[in-house]
Symmetry: C2
Subunit: 256 residues, 2 copies
DNA sequence: CAGTGGTCTAGACCACGTG
DNA sequence: ACGTGGTCTAGACCACTGC
């Protein structure tokens, strides 16, 4: 099996001629790794095979695998740990959590948090939610409403929409029993890994209902955050509309 | 000059023994490149020397220089252009602008923007601003206030603080004549490149003065953004407190 | 055509974590 | 001692840009 440069690479397309749609080898490897992640071949928190193993599997050099993994690590899908291996990112870790929870106390002191489920129902998707989730109109979705409290003070009111086909069996009871971040639950119970999210933020006056639930005055200024979260392959898997009380908290962001 | 692995590397410290503070070669190269950028050896918009030239200058392989540049490019300090070279990032480009201007129209249609300078004075730094800019208390700062309008509608009210020692000669008149983003002006007139910024966001009710300037009702909800901007080496160079009208605009953000 | 960054390889050695 | 990822090198070839 002594190689020549044009050895067969199995699933990989031939690249010897300047093909019309040129894609670097490491990008193709990255795609294959993404497929494996999506397929659940390696679960969140687990180690993926070593670089040498992957290089052998794909019939490329270690350096090429390395570059593919580098990009996935830069996107926070994988986490490299020197001496130990490369691991699938998981929301069962404080670090990942803070990537998605941007509201932090003004004084920086850590707070105790609690969640109260208001509501969890299966309904037909409203048109706007269906569009954002790329579902057919009126397809089934799960609608979840909750209040998050920090140091006993109600601070976040969330209105969450999930594709019904994927999240069947999600009930208010199962949620009430669960402690920890929602996205961690989604991983372990439904095999859905949230990988990226887009947010649109506005300042809005509190509606009477919001004011009541968050124990603020009607009309007081709230931070409104509309989030669409994506799994592997940029598939939208959650729409989340939240309003935040920013009296003693702020939304932090870094511009790079 | 045929090399042996332990050839002298000029300015670079000897790494042959397992040194106490181990730092990879490419990190040291990155540091040297950063110094050159900070010193202004290569100006924003200009090309830096080719990878091979830099490799020769620093007496390392092209691959090592490449990795240093890769990191600087990932941090948006440098921009690689295949076939042309590697360039110093500049705010004289639409792309860079949108990294720092996160307010966008809800309907996505582009808007005409205009700036009105309210005020530009040299004053003694308030304690909080001095702390954020890492200045001694009561040191001189420039305080600049302006209103940005989108499609003729006043939308952003900014209160900006700059270190007086660096921004001497910045006046309301020079600003009034200038068209374009502030950060581009800072680059060409004062040699200050903004590279990164941290923001803290809240929802607040409009004060009577803010309401008047932004033509909204007193007490209506505004998005409040406190930004600290940094140059090379994470040196704070601007404090900017803005309030945004988010009636027809939103602050967009991506969580990765 | 020459020069730039981009890809790919192969191999040596280092630092880290675990037995 | 071993296996992992991390660094560094040298060299070949590819793709893009501009003269």
């Amino acid at each position: 099996m002594s190689d020549t440069p044009s050895t067969d690479r199995g699933a990989l397309p031939d690249r010897s001629a300047g093909s019309a749609a040129f894609s670097p080898l490491y990008q193709q490897i990255k795609g294959l790794l993404l497929q494996s992640l999506d397929r659940g071949e390696w679960k969140p928190g687990e180690a993926i095979p070593s670089e040498l193993e992957l290089a052998a599997r794909f019939q490329v050099s270690q350096g090429t695998v390395r570059k593919a993994i580098d990009e996935l690590a830069a996107e926070n899908l994988l986490i490299r740990r020197q001496g130990k291996g490369t691991f699938v990112a998981t929301h069962h870790e404080a670090k990942v959590r803070f990537r998605f929870l941007r509201l932090t106390p003004d004084d920086g002191k850590p707070v105790a948090s609690g969640s109260r489920i208001l509501d969890c129902r299966r309904v037909k998707a409203p048109a706007d939610v269906a569009a954002l989730l790329e579902l057919r109109s009126a397809e089934a979705v799960v609608n979840l409403r909750r209040v998050l409290s920090f140091d006993q003070a109600p601070t976040i009111l969330d209105d969450i929409w999930l594709p019904g086909a994927v999240f069947r069996g999600l009930t208010a009871e199962s949620l009430a029993r669960y402690r920890g971040p929602l996205y961690a639950l989604f991983e372990t119970e439904f095999g859905v890994s949230m990988v990226r999210a887009d947010e649109k933020i506005k300042a809005v006056p509190a509606s009477p209902e919001q004011a009541e639930l968050l124990q603020v005055e009607t009309g007081s200024a709230l931070l409104q955050v509309e989030r669409v979260s994506f799994t592997y392959g940029d598939r939208p898997m959650e729409v989340r509309r939240g309003v935040y009380v920013t009296e003693r908290f702020h939304y932090r962001n870094s511009l790079n």
